[in-house]
Symmetry: C2
Subunit: 101 residues, 2 copies
């Protein structure tokens, strides 16, 4: 077991990691995608990503004939987890101003 | 027939427009995604998008019980076409310097 086993789905045929992430609004979705893009350029790991207004699905494929998720991809998944947990996971959208802003 | 009928796939159940776009490199993929995000915020049309290092799939869903693609979504598709044609469709990656840069 490693840190990603509680946050990512380990799938077979083809071997991959999958995770869905939900966001309070489109601005946060965009922010997060920007940060993941920077992580891809920094690590050379380019997951397949699908997203809509307030969700992101990330799929990290392995290179055949891999029989396990390699450390590089596990590290990328952990980096995504840390990014999401630190910035997007808890804070709801800012409440509308109850007093005139 | 309208401008999108040659570039987008018109799909049924659910009614939607789909297009796949390929890019020379990740920098261009990212650039394009950024421009589409701005178009979404400007128009309020938020397609489902999936992408990898050098491809983007865009799906523009309609709101049931729509029986045709509405003008707003057709306009968004045309905007994506214009964006792609103007910036990304022709220029291959910069050729490596044949003489020392």
């Amino acid at each position: 077991m490693n840190a990603t086993s509680t946050t990512w789905q380990h799938r077979e045929r083809p071997l991959r990691l999958e995770r869905r992430l939900d966001f309070a609004d489109y601005a946060r979705t965009r922010d997060f995608l920007e940060a993941v893009a920077k992580a891809s350029e920094a690590t050379g790991v380019y997951p397949d990503i699908s997203f809509g207004r307030t969700y992101v699905n990330i799929t990290i494929h392995t290179e055949p004939p891999a029989t396990d998720i390699d450390p590089e991809r596990t590290a990328f998944a952990e980096r995504v987890d840390a990014l999401f947990a630190s910035e997007y996971d808890r804070r709801p959208s800012e409440p509308p101003c109850s007093i005139p802003c």
